[in-house]
């Protein structure tokens, strides 16, 4: 390997934010032509910052970048493209009302004339070479998430990218779509392109990458040839100490029906049917997993139960321990709480819904409790104590209780949110993508917390995207497909392929 010239080298890169935060410290990293390099690290370890430096979004404070052995400057995304570096971001940057073709050539026409025929032919050539499927004339808004991602990749290839950076590309894909993406990535690698892959999913790292580079706390730790390592070693290197990779699944004890949903039908603001006659029950002391492609109705389902989503038809019933029931339909969160139903909700949008990013930890704890008492003034002591308790028990990494939540890393934000939601001793816990964007260590903390709640007898509804985790953690798995329930499986016997199929195909019985 020493004989080859790296396609790209980063030498002693340091990037600081303000005076205190060092995102990257003296990082040196090589990537060779024709290899897939997985970049592994916990949240806040500086992966994304490092890649943003390559993509021209940030400028390093120190260090240099060499491409093909020559030092270069990357001061803007355009210059990154000129050097053959293309980044596919987590959030797609496409114009919805334009076609794939138009999006791909956007900003490239130098003569002021669009030659869509030529570009379509070029797009076709790229697609054929690597095995993409893109219809150049399809509008973006008609595309699935995976198709949009394909357009993004073709877009950077069209611009002549030799070095591709993908930031958590599989977070939004089904297992089948992920496999397809990996096949394409391998084709590109065989064609001599360099690919840097950021991901938290260890099985993907092991199955698709050639080499793994590990960052920890902004520093480059080491690299490993993928075929000579394993998940345990990589995790230990990433975290810095030994961690266990098994997810617990205690047997449900004394399960009783807690939430009964019947024929739930929901339309969104535009009148699009998001849930179609969904029926199921959630039991105490059990984790019910919800699987499905993003946007299959998971959000509407949880928000419907939490009283945040107007419902068109159906019923949601809460069953008390003594068998009496409460009707939750048409009630807002306050009215539900007034019934004595203790329902906690960890929403998908942590900073836009679950927490207020511009408030400190203590004030965020107060969201749930500020109404308590008759005084017109807020009680700041209790939320502050709760914040201290959550920081201690969940090992939240923060300078103090008076730090703005937006300054915390993703894992710590989630710990604060989950900590607050379980502090009220709920009987029902709804979680949406509880570990999205979280590193392994934080994810396992969250699984542990959820399991503790299960053992306490809480009915947990866990909406997830990582099927590996769903089949390890959940007692039962409900699969949603386009607003329908396509089946409920036993988590102990379910396998990923079946779930993946059910996510994309509605059983005949459920057809309209």
């Amino acid at each position: 390997m020493e004989e080859r010239t790296p396609a790209l080298s980063m030498r002693n890169i340091t990037k600081r934010f303000g005076s205190k935060v060092i995102a990257n410290s003296d990082v040196s990293l090589d990537i060779y032509p024709g290899e897939i390099l997985a970049l592994l690290g916990e949240n806040g370890s500086g992966k994304t910052t490092l890649m943003n430096i390559l993509a021209g979004i940030y400028y390093p404070d120190e260090g240099e970048i060499l491409i093909g052995g020559k030092p270069v400057t990357i001061a803007s995304p355009k210059e990154a493209f000129n050097h053959g570096i293309g980044m596919i971001h987590q959030h797609f940057k496409l114009v919805d009302v334009l076609t794939a073709n138009e999006n791909i050539v956007l900003g490239m026409d130098k003569e002021g004339m669009l030659d869509l025929k030529t570009s379509a032919a070029r797009i076709k050539k790229i697609c054929d070479a690597y095995g993409f499927e893109v219809d150049p004339d399809e509008k973006i808004y008609d595309m699935s998430v995976s198709e949009k991602q394909t357009v993004e990749i073709v877009k950077v290839l069209y611009r002549g990218a030799e070095i591709l950076i993908l930031d958590e590309p599989t977070a939004v894909l089904t297992p089948q779509e992920s496999d397809k993406l990996f096949a394409v990535l391998r084709n590109m690698r065989n064609d001599g392109k360099s690919i840097i892959l950021i991901t938290h999913k260890m099985n993907e790292v092991l199955s698709v990458s050639d080499r793994v580079a590990i960052l920890r706390a902004g520093k480059y730790i080491c690299d490993r040839v993928t075929s000579e390592t394993n998940a345990q070693e990589l995790t230990d290197l990433m975290v810095g100490h030994k961690v266990s990779l098994n997810i617990d699944r205690p047997e449900p004890v004394n399960s009783k029906e807690r939430i009964r949903v019947k024929g739930l039908t929901v339309r969104n603001i535009d009148g699009v049917l998001k849930l179609n006659k969904v029926s199921f029950s959630a039991y105490s002391g059990e984790i019910l997993g919800i699987a499905g492609i993003a946007g299959s109705g998971q959000k509407e389902l949880l928000e419907g139960i939490a009283g945040l989503q107007p419902v068109e038809a159906g019923s949601i019933t809460y069953v008390n321990d003594d068998g009496t029931t409460e009707d939750l339909i048409g009630k807002d969160p306050l009215e539900i709480a007034a019934l004595g139903v203790s329902l906690s909700f960890v929403p998908e949008d942590r900073l836009g819904m679950g927490l207020v990013e511009n408030m400190d930890l203590a004030d965020n704890m107060m969201l749930r409790s500020y109404r308590v008492g008759k005084s017109v003034f807020t009680n700041r002591k209790d939320p502050e104590n709760l914040a201290k308790q959550v920081i201690k028990e969940l090992e939240v990494n923060t300078p103090g209780v008076h730090t703005m939540v937006r300054k915390l890393s993703g894992g710590n934000v989630q710990k604060v949110l989950v900590g607050r939601e379980i502090a009220s001793a709920p009987t029902v816990l709804l979680t949406a993508y509880a570990v999205r964007g979280l590193d392994i260590n934080s994810s396992y903390t969250i699984y542990d917390l959820i399991n503790q709640q299960k053992k306490r007898g809480v009915a947990v509804i866990y909406v997830g995207e990582d099927l590996d985790v769903l089949v390890e953690l959940c007692d039962r798995i409900l699969v949603l497909c386009d607003g329908h329930v396509s089946g409920i499986l036993d988590g102990r016997t379910a396998d990923k392929q079946t779930i993946g199929m059910m996510m994309t195909h509605i059983k005949e019985a459920a057809d309209e």
């Binding site: 934010f17 005076s19 240099e64 030092p71 001061a75 969160p333 306050l334 207020v356 807020t378």
Partner: protein, 365 residues
């Protein structure tokens, strides 16, 4: 380091010591004064120091001028404080002018129509309630539309100003005195019915005390009350507010009633406290200047004392220059503009850091 490193690149600061941010602001004021001096000399040939001296004299020259300065600060601050709850909620209430004007109108109406019919104490009580209610109603209308149909509050509150001006213009004709003058004159000049009592001989002191108390109240309300907390949550994220069961519409309406009521109070203080008359320009654009007062202070009531002082001082200084050097008033406005430009512009240097390329010589060593 290679040669193509850009000459400057700008990075966002994450934290800045308070001492440093004060230093940057001070530097901005000094540079602003230097530039003003330069322009004064170039354009008018006057000695800038004399001009500055006259500016200061305009505000502090006599005891009476100092009291007028304080009165003007309190009136501006009062409307500024009224805007704080709305702005914290990200409800851009640009209708402070109209809401205060409606307060003036209500107070004048009580003073004119109830003169001699009720006792003076009752009249003061009635006109106070009426003025505060009138301001509240004027703010409630756009708030209702925002809460029910999510209309744009910026435009709505702005337009309500013009409606208020026209209504007042109408009543000035109805009540004009003497007939044909096109103005109301001093209301109840002989009886002083409905006038706020002077404390000792000072007719401004009561207003100043009321606004001082209000500053404290708003500070406590925003920082320590449950209402203040709800306002902050709704302003930061309506979705979070709904998620925890806050009724967003209710908070919008309640907060706007408060905001309008305080503008109405400002109108009351202007009409019954000091001016004892009603004109269409009695509020003097303070509803808009107050926006700047609130923003410059980042909605902190105590800092707003400083910002309202600054704006009133600049305004009065500009007038003083215009009269004592027989310059056009526009010249004073130019100076005010320059000073504000630097004060607002320095925020950039507080939020961002500019990194220069290290010189090659330094690197070589």
């Amino acid at each position: 380091m290679n040669k193509k490193t850009p000459l400057i690149h700008i990075t966002k600061r994450t934290d800045i010591p308070v001492s440093r941010s004060i230093l940057i602001r001070l530097a901005a004021v000094i540079i602003a004064l230097l530039v003003c001096g330069l322009i004064t000399t170039i354009v008018t040939g006057l000695n800038p120091l004399e001009v500055y001296a006259s500016m200061i004299k305009g505000s502090f020259g006599t005891k009476r001028k100092v009291w007028t300065l304080l009165q003007n600060i309190s009136m501006l601050l009062c409307i500024g404080l009224a805007l704080v709850p709305a702005f914290r909620m990200r409800f851009w209430n640009l209708g402070g002018d109209g809401q205060a004007l409606m307060g003036c109108l209500a107070a004048s109406a009580c003073m004119i129509l109830l003169n001699g019919k009720v006792s003076n104490a009752a009249l003061i009580a009635i006109e106070s309630v009426a003025a505060i209610a009138a301001g509240a109603v004027w703010a409630l209308i756009p708030a209702l539309f925002k809460a029910k149909w999510n209309t744009n509050e910026t435009l709505f509150t702005l337009m309500m100003n013009y409606v208020a001006t026209q209504i007042v213009a109408y009543f000035i004709i109805v009540w004009e005195s003497p007939k044909g003058s096109g103005s109301i004159g001093i209301i109840n000049q002989r009886t002083e019915a409905g006038w706020f009592p002077a404390i000792g001989t000072n007719k401004y002191l009561l207003n100043i005390l009321i606004v001082t108390a209000l500053t404290l109240i708003i500070f406590v309300y925003m920082k320590y009350s449950k209402h203040g907390y709800e306002i902050a949550v709704v302003g930061e994220s309506e979705r979070t507010a709904r998620y925890i069961g806050i009724k967003v519409e209710k908070v919008i309406i309640r907060t706007m009633i408060l905001s309008g009521a305080l503008c109405g109070l400002a109108g009351l203080l202007l009409c019954a406290g000091t001016n004892h008359t009603l004109t269409t320009t009695i509020v003097d654009g303070r509803g808009f200047t107050a926006v700047m007062v609130a923003w410059l202070a980042k909605f902190d009531p105590f800092v707003m004392i400083i910002t309202s002082f600054l704006l009133v001082f600049l305004g009065r200084g500009a007038n003083e220059i215009a009269t004592s050097f027989s310059l056009n008033k526009a010249f004073g406005d130019i100076l005010t503009g320059i000073i504000l430009f630097f004060i607002i512009g320095c925020e950039f240097f507080i939020n961002y850091k500019i990194n220069f390329r290290k010189s090659e010589g330094k690197e070589a060593r």
